[in-house]
Symmetry: C2
Subunit: 341 residues, 2 copies
Amino acid sequence: MIIDIHGHYTTAPAELWAYRAHQISNLGRPTKGSLNISDERIRETIEEGQLKLQRERGTDLTLFSPRAASMGHHFGGELVSRYWTEVCNDLIHRVCQLFPESFVGVCQLPQSPGVSPRNCIEELKRCVSELGFVGCNVNPDPTGATGFTPSLGDEWWYPLWEACVELDVPAMIHVSASANPSLHTLATYYITSDTAAALQLLESRVFDDFPKLKIVIPHGGGAVPYQLARYRGISTVERRQPFEEAIKKLYFDTAIYSQDAVETLLKAVGVDNVLFASEMVGAVYAVDPRSGRWFDDTKIYLDGIEWLTEENRRDLFEENALRVYPRLKEQLRRAKPVAGA
Amino acid sequence: MIIDIHGHYTTAPAELWAYRAHQISNLGRPTKGSLNISDERIRETIEEGQLKLQRERGTDLTLFSPRAASMGHHFGGELVSRYWTEVCNDLIHRVCQLFPESFVGVCQLPQSPGVSPRNCIEELKRCVSELGFVGCNVNPDPTGATGFTPSLGDEWWYPLWEACVELDVPAMIHVSASANPSLHTLATYYITSDTAAALQLLESRVFDDFPKLKIVIPHGGGAVPYQLARYRGISTVERRQPFEEAIKKLYFDTAIYSQDAVETLLKAVGVDNVLFASEMVGAVYAVDPRSGRWFDDTKIYLDGIEWLTEENRRDLFEENALRVYPRLKEQLRRAKPVAGA
């Protein structure tokens, strides 16, 4: 079974964006309102988008979450963020109900700049307990690169980590769009934030205080695997735990886009800490003019690595995901009868 | 000849820091004052620091600049930054005069948050024309990660690029210390800023408008070589010049700290665009407990790469530096008679 742990609903119907636009015009008096999208519209956008590609590329299941760049936690206040988050998560839930064998939900959270992550717990619980989601995306910088957010190593985040551990769901650390014109969202902000997130966590006490917490750093870990020796050196200077050991506290996805890079990642953090992902349909939805293949068909990079054993491949494509997302097994069991009906 | 293009005077005498401390207590009425350090004190700090290591490691010459983390452009106003910069550059000049065969100067600039880089031109000209410096360090974020700075691709920077081209000196893009507690200066802020800098320049018109401008991205280019395929994909989606071609407009140094990483860099940008550097004495001044060798003895990584030809090695250690820093040849000519005296 091939599980892609990192897919966003980037092909959502226009009605979703109409809802968001409505939030702008109602900024003074936010109301929840409602999102009216037919099952047929959802089916269309999935069957001609994500699912078509999954079938072509041989991915069985995607852990599916709302479009990351649209989480936009920096926009509006706490209430705007809550309504938007609920609507986005409900839509993901509908996708998962319509295609239970192909999608399992991962939620966004109602974060807001300067607001304690404690306010996310209710929505996280709803998504996990009521909607069957198996993970969450945590934005390490709800300001959208326009202000300060405490380090992920700070106790400010502890109520959220506590809830993740209690619910047994991992957190993928994933920023939303950059509101700083100097930082390209997909090219710069995602990658620099991944780098910062990994280092914030590894210089903190988070994993001492929450040994069961599971954190996934996306996009191949930003700069970390390439700069590994720098971090080994700094850890040595600062008399910390050897960085090559510390890094095993984190999980990384394969949403990088060349075989060389995937190999660098695997060598840096080890097969056990890497999970297959494509982040499609996303930043690099294009055919590589050199190879004639889709950049984000990341399975081919793993397939090309000759030194991986069959067991390694099973771990990367399936077993690691089932281990890091423990609620996934239950969701897969539930999906089966529907498929056989 | 082995030229290290990236060294900072991190072992400067305490008198320099006393000067800086004085600036804090005189923040209300900044005065230039003076720095009193004997030649003997300077000799000591160099001979027992940087130069000792250069001799041990076989580096002939270092392009030497003030300590990057101490540039502190976010501290004080324009005048504070100007005085501090002049004092730091003058000290580098004294090192270069005392050891003309081993050091050539690279200056810091009197940048300040929100102040046009136009104000740096006078000091840049002084350093190049009067002190014989061959390059400058440009801080892409004088706010120290606490505010907004226009993208390096923005016309805001054009007066400075114009001066660099006119004086025929390259700019190394190098932030100073992070004043944002979430960002570790050496581990996170340097690396994320390198990444951002490269992408800001490559999505801009800077090299169309200044085809002769030479920019060096330090620390092996942050995340860029590892994330190369992501950037190739994004460039394809955005119908830009192929990224693997665009990246040749930039130069990169080898201040990463493993052979694998140096190979990744060389494969990503090509031998012609890489310059030997160690950034010692710096972030990773420690012995690798695994190999028993100094992390920042970066020559060994290049020496270990078997597929490099003799010509490649000459380019990496010497010729590329002479090409990117055209004023270096003249400085080397001047140094000779002094050495023979």
